[in-house]
């Protein structure tokens, strides 16, 4: 699925016009005419979304966020007269396909920068491609944070992270959860990097607050039955189930937890189940659980109300938005702001423009791109799922929020990341 325009064979339209421009400067054509032709040339944005495969359910909001940003940017006259143009690629939720598509977008579609990929595995697959081609990738997903050993998937000057890391998503709310529900945590997550690292960085903070981990399990993808895990949880004496399962496993586990009548015996805190998954769970299974993220559709802010109005006009009344879609939206707008600021379109200009940039109108509240490690400084919300909710409009109630949470410094050896 791609939106493409024809490029003049071999020679791209832009380089053709550039050479014409050079000729114009030599007096062969009127410079004014050339400048306006150049101005209409679109800035091409390559988006890689999980439109098919295991994480299909997240794909719609992921893509919609960028589509909306681009509509708004173009309605406001684009960047210095040049509109943004979207080129979509499907990651099929497979890192291998991400590599193919990133290469296609850069070499064949000649995009100016990339946005998207969904899981950390996908982002890490795109890392070498954007490093080699010197293109920027704007990454939207909540993830485990940057560690040097995963370079160039992280700690990469061409990558900008718009989603929260555990020190933003989890740490701020630990105290509240421990104080109100107890010190014993049972950690359950999918068996890959994000849940493992999230739990790893959460444990020392939990201990500082006097808490302890009474159980820790990692579930392979696509596990349908949870009897033995439920028994372990029941026997562990836990107060809080700290939950980072993903995809269909989160739904399978939580439905079976509820069916076993365990929802009332434990407090469940999930760092994965945003609007899309909670909708999939339904009110009986999800009621009374806690969720933390930088964005929720339920956030009561004028910037969010405006955003949701536009989103519903774009995608329909029942469409779901989530943290990842909003990060894509913010990424699009901040890229436009950065390019406007620097007045030219290049990888270096985009990097330089993004560093330290603040987007005041972000739906969740002001978002700043930190200079040090290209990690967004974000708000952090803890929400409780309401009983008998009927739609995303009344799904969550706010428990507490922090306006602007600085993440832990990235564990990169090359800080600060070069502009």
């Amino acid at each position: 699925m791609t939106d493409t325009i024809k490029t003049t064979g071999g020679l791209s339209r832009r380089s053709l016009i550039k050479s014409l421009g050079a000729a114009g400067a030599l007096g062969l054509a009127g410079p004014n005419f050339i400048r306006s032709a150049y101005a209409a040339d679109p800035i091409r944005v390559g988006v890689i979304s999980p439109l098919t495969g295991a994480w299909t359910v997240y794909g719609k909001a992921h893509l919609a966020g960028m589509e909306m940003a681009i509509e708004e940017i173009n309605a406001a006259g684009g960047v210095n007269g040049r509109p943004f143009e979207l080129v979509v690629a499907d990651s099929k939720t497979e890192p291998r396909i991400v590599v193919e598509q990133a290469n296609r977008l850069i070499r064949h579609e000649r995009v100016d920068f990339l946005a998207g990929t969904f899981s950390s595995a996908e982002r890490n697959a795109a890392g070498p491609v954007v490093a080699a081609a010197d293109k920027v990738l704007l990454y939207p997903t909540f993830y485990e944070g940057q560690q040097q050993k995963y370079y160039p998937g992280v700690c990469n000057k061409n990558m900008f992270m718009f989603g929260p890391v555990p020190s933003q998503q989890v740490w701020p709310h630990l105290e509240y959860m421990v104080k109100n529900f107890g010190k014993k945590f049972f950690m359950i997550g999918s068996d890959y990097a994000w849940p493992r690292v999230t739990n790893e960085v959460t444990k020392p903070k939990l201990r500082e607050l006097g808490g302890e981990v009474v159980g820790e399990v990692y579930i392979p993808f696509n596990t349908p039955q949870y009897e033995s895990v439920l028994r372990d949880i029941r026997n562990s004496g836990a107060d809080v189930i700290f939950h980072s399962l993903t995809g269909s496993d989160t739904v399978n586990f939580r439905k079976q937890l509820a069916a076993a009548g365990m929802n009332k015996d434990f407090t469940l805190w999930t760092v994965d189940d945003e609007e899309v998954v909670t909708s999939g769970l339904g009110p009986e299974v999800s009621a009374g659980t806690y969720v933390s993220f930088d964005y929720f559709m339920s956030i009561n802010k004028p910037s969010n109300a405006t955003f949701l109005e536009k989103f519903r006009a774009h995608a329909g009344d029942d469409a779901l938005m989530d943290t990842v879609g909003v990060a894509m939206y913010n990424a699009g707008h901040m890229a436009a702001m950065a390019l406007r600021k620097s007045g030219e379109v290049s990888t270096a200009a985009l990097r330089k423009g993004l560093k330290g940039l603040t987007f005041e109108d972000a739906p969740q509240g002001p978002v700043t791109m930190r200079e040090l490690d290209n990690q967004a400084v974000l708000p952090s919300y803890l929400m409780r799922v309401r009983e008998n909710w009927t739609s995303v409009n009344d799904m969550f109630e706010e428990v507490q929020m922090f306006e602007s949470v600085e993440p832990q410094d990235a564990a990169c050896s090359n800080l600060p990341l070069e502009a």
Binding site: T52, A54, T56, V57, G59, K60, D191, V217, Y218, I219, P220, N222, T223, P224, Q225, E227, S228, V229, R231, N235, S248, T250, V251, N252, K255, Q256, A258, A259, A260, G261, V276, V277, S279, G280, L281, G282, E284, V285, L320
Partner: protein
């Protein structure tokens, strides 16, 4: 101690029976007519979606599941009539054809139902207390239904004249044909029953799982192991024993190790069994 032993026994029984239900349609199609049905997962998925659709139309859950099973049966029969019946003698071609069927069904599901997660609410919420062990009511009900369905099908195959014809066909296709048996009709009936069972299983499992276009795949590989370990053509005992080895032993392994190790150990065990008993655990040659 006794209590936790009892709870493990209950878990083993539930897991074995739910997996047996999910694998049963495959046991029929693969085990009896030899079609390597990679589309089994898609039939389960379809059963779940049709159940969801019917409950969304306010049809009571038991009828919704029946509707789904019949719907999947009809779709399975159409596929059999258009494609599969021409390939009964070429089992490896059916592998590719049914894989294509899986991909087509998955994409059609995405077009018709969209990619949002769907949910069928649990028709029998709550848990009963069984001597200190809490058993989810719905799961126990599904396990009982599994026993009933597998028993009834076994009766059909071993105690009715249709069953005799099917078994005759499996034993010797040519002789059965020479004796005047309508081979293509019998194959069709078997394939239809298999599809019906897959739809039924998809429908019954739907309240326990997330309904997304790939829900059936969770059970596809496990179902193949059930049939291979249990032995092809061993409908009743083979399916149950195969399910115990693939599902139940996972629970046992998980007592001593991590989930990932347990799942790997199960597959390793299955490979070992197939190495020394290539025709399944029940067949000794």
């Amino acid at each position: 101690m006794l209590n936790s032993l009892l709870s493990i026994a209950v878990d083993l029984t539930l897991i074995t029976l739910v997996l047996a239900l999910a694998a049963f349609g495959l046991a029929i199609v693969y085990g009896l007519v030899g079609v390597i049905n990679m589309g089994h997962g898609a039939l389960l998925t379809l059963g779940a979606y049709l159940t969801w659709q019917a409950t969304a139309w306010q049809i009571p859950f038991p009828l919704a599941v029946l509707f789904a099973a019949c719907g999947v049966c009809v779709i399975g029969l159409i596929f059999e009539h258009l494609v599969i019946r021409h390939f009964y003698e070429r089992p490896f071609d059916t592998l590719l054809l049914t894989w294509a069927f899986f991909m087509i069904v998955t994409e059609v599901i995405k077009i018709v139902f969209g990619t949002d997660l769907r949910t069928v609410s649990n028709p029998l919420p709550g848990a009963i207390d069984l001597g200190g062990v809490r058993v989810p009511v719905y799961r126990a009900t599904v396990a009982l239904i599994a026993v009933g369905v597998i028993g009834a099908t076994a009766w059909l195959f071993y105690r009715t004249s249709l069953g005799i014809r099917i078994r005759g066909l499996i034993q010797n296709r040519e002789v059965a044909g020479l004796l005047g048996l309508n081979i293509s009709l019998t194959y069709k009936i078997v394939f239809g029953i298999g599809a019906f069972m897959a739809g039924l299983a998809g429908g019954l499992i739907s309240p326990m799982l997330s309904i997304d276009p790939y829900i059936g795949n969770v059970y596809l590989v496990r179902s193949f192991f059930v049939v291979l370990v249990g032995g092809m053509g061993q409908l009743l005992s083979g399916t149950l024993i195969g399910s115990f080895f693939t599902g139940g032993s996972e629970t046992l392994f998980a007592l001593f190790s991590s989930q990932a190790v347990a799942q790997t150990a199960v597959f390793a065990l299955a490979i070992l069994i197939l190495r020394f008993r290539p025709n399944g655990i029940l067949k000794n040659k």
